[in-house]
């Protein structure tokens, strides 16, 4: 029962949406679809409530049990309460406290985390990017050309060279990169079609989770 009902919902709705894609009739394109949109709109707030409940209950239990690094859970809950309160009370437009929190806290924190990538990339490139084989050498040369072609300083340096670095960099993106990307996309596309069919026919059931 626990598996059959969700399975039936997925299969029935899956076939309905296949029908929606291919049947141009008004009852399918307008009537059904309008009802579906209303249903989706009604469903969304429940997902928000569920998300907040899950977040709060998890962090609250960590604080209660004084789990390792429980202080972070405390910060998370305070953050949730403060941000939600100022958002509800003052709105989220420009000039409001919510926007101030975003501009002065969220933006610098997130950008700092992301910028660490530059440091790790630099050390990783230095420590492990070695021309150990023909393939690695091709990759290394391509990487250097692309890196030079992407920045004005690289372009300026390569101006004295007999070859135009931007042209080579663009060729690498347009030809070898494009060919490999297209191959991957075709593979992924065919795989998606096969998996979708297996789900629609009830053969693929791993998405239902394990156990009974």
């Amino acid at each position: 029962m626990k598996k059959n009902i969700p399975l039936a919902i997925v299969i029935i709705l899956g076939f309905i949406f296949v029908g929606w894609t291919f049947i141009p009739a008004k009852w399918m394109q307008d009537d059904f679809y309008t009802a579906f949109i209303e249903f989706t709109k009604t469903m969304s707030p429940f997902a928000v409530v569920l998300g907040i409940y899950s977040l709060v209950s998890m962090h609250y239990s960590r604080i209660r049990m004084k789990a390792p690094k429980w202080g972070y859970s405390f910060v998370t809950i305070i953050g949730l309460v403060v941000t939600a309160t100022v958002g509800f009370v003052y709105g989220t437009q420009s000039g409001t406290p919510a926007q101030w929190i975003f501009r002065n806290m969220m933006m610098p924190i997130s950008a700092t985390m992301f910028s660490l990538l530059a440091f790790y990339m630099a050390t990783a490139a230095y420590k492990s990017f070695r021309a150990r084989s023909v393939e690695a050498t091709v990759l290394l040369v391509a990487a250097i050309i692309i890196m030079l072609g992407q920045v004005p300083l690289g372009m300026a340096i390569s101006k004295t060279w007999p070859i135009n670095i931007l042209d080579i960099s663009q060729w690498i993106m347009d030809v070898p990169n494009l060919a490999s990307k297209r191959g991957i996309l075709l593979g992924v596309g065919l795989g998606s079609v096969a998996t979708s069919l297996k789900i629609l026919l009830g053969i693929e059931r791993t998405y239902l989770g394990g156990g009974d």
Binding site: M106, M107, A111, M113, P152, M155, A156, N177
Partner: protein
């Protein structure tokens, strides 16, 4: 031997310090560098510019004189749609291109919608709008919310597909309200114009650090023929090349470089109210070049973020290349020494 070892085994903390200095110094001491524009960026710029009432009035006017009434009349039936799909972490790369596109739209009087299904992107839209409108309003031009642009703001992700498809019929019915709770049909940009669906709003510009733009190509482009342009972080750009080549993606701004290219085009053409032409891009006039000097205050720093950032990126790239070369030199010297000892 020590020298070879040092070449390969430099402590990572030294690498961090070198990278930090390479990034910080060009930001403190900006310098001018040439930004070469690429075809995907030029295509996106031209497409947005083609919606400008200035361009359309210019095309139809044989006398070459365009009155503001004519411009306003042409403003009634074209708009672009901007979809923000990223959080604050990718802002350093994506925010400058969003600001540049918005600035282009405002200078050239192209009405635009802003929208997101990520609640964390809603403040980014507000931030971009405030950066662009505050700065341009200092010049005396009035920009009205709901008239020059509509900020739809955040809509739940569950409504993404219904909205995406619903806008093929009527944007007001699909999204219902803007971020302030006003009904779209009551806003001047909708009420007083012919802008209704993808027929008028024929370009979606989607910014993200993922391949989210694909949804627009798969659903909106295949069903309604809407043009799709994307703004991506540099690491995601390679994924878009198949769609660029096939024409499913009309244009692309990739990473800080793409943003810098777009900033340049806005400063050269839109700011001078000139229609883009490849000839003028290759042989710019002094007036067009005047806005490109990033060491001067001709253009506010908010509008040259990408170009300032490109200086830092330039130095960092060169430094990383040097590190890679040093590491490889050390590797080969060590290998040679080992072979000799065998």
């Amino acid at each position: 031997m020590n020298f070879i070892k040092n070449l390969q085994g430099l402590d990572r903390r030294y690498v961090f310090v070198f990278i930090a200095v390479a990034i910080i110094m060009p930001l403190i001491f900006p310098f001018n560098s040439v930004t070469y524009t690429t075809t995907p960026v030029e295509n996106l710029y031209q497409l947005i510019d083609s919606y400008s009432p200035y361009v359309r009035a210019d095309d139809l006017n044989e006398d070459g004189i365009i009155s503001e009434d004519e411009v306003d009349a042409f403003k009634q039936d074209r708009a672009i749609f901007m979809d923000f799909y990223h959080d604050a972490s990718t802002m350093p790369e994506l925010f400058p291109m969003e600001v540049a596109v918005m600035r282009h739209c405002i200078y050239r009087k192209v009405p635009f919608f802003t929208f997101t299904i990520m609640e964390i992107a809603a403040p980014i839209i507000e931030e971009a709008l405030s950066v662009v409108t505050d700065e341009i309003q200092k010049t005396g031009r009035v920009i009205e919310r709901g008239k020059d642009y509509i900020n739809i703001g955040y809509k739940p992700a569950a409504l993404y597909l219904p909205i995406l498809l619903g806008m093929g019929d009527d944007i007001a019915a699909a999204v219902e309200t803007d971020t302030d709770g006003n009904r779209i049909e009551n806003l001047p940009m909708y009420r007083d114009t012919a802008i209704r669906n993808y027929t008028q709003m024929n370009l979606v510009y989607e910014t993200s650090g993922s391949d989210q733009g694909l949804s627009w190509m798969v659903y909106a482009r295949s069903r309604f023929g809407v043009n799709v342009g994307v703004g991506l972080t540099a690491v995601m750009a390679a994924d878009q090349y198949p769609y660029l080549q096939s024409g499913q993606c009309a244009g692309m701004t990739a990473g800080l470089k793409g943003a810098a290219e777009y900033e340049n085009l806005v400063d050269m053409f839109a700011m001078n109210n000139i229609t883009f032409s490849k000839g003028q891009l290759d042989n710019p006039t002094e007036k067009m070049l005047a806005n490109l000097d990033i060491t001067k205050d001709t253009v506010p720093s908010k509008f040259k973020m990408a170009r300032l950032g490109m200086n830092a990126q330039s130095v960092a790239h060169i430094l990383i290349i040097i590190f890679i070369l040093l590491g490889n030199i050390g590797y080969f010297l060590e290998k040679k020494k080992l072979n000799k000892n065998l």
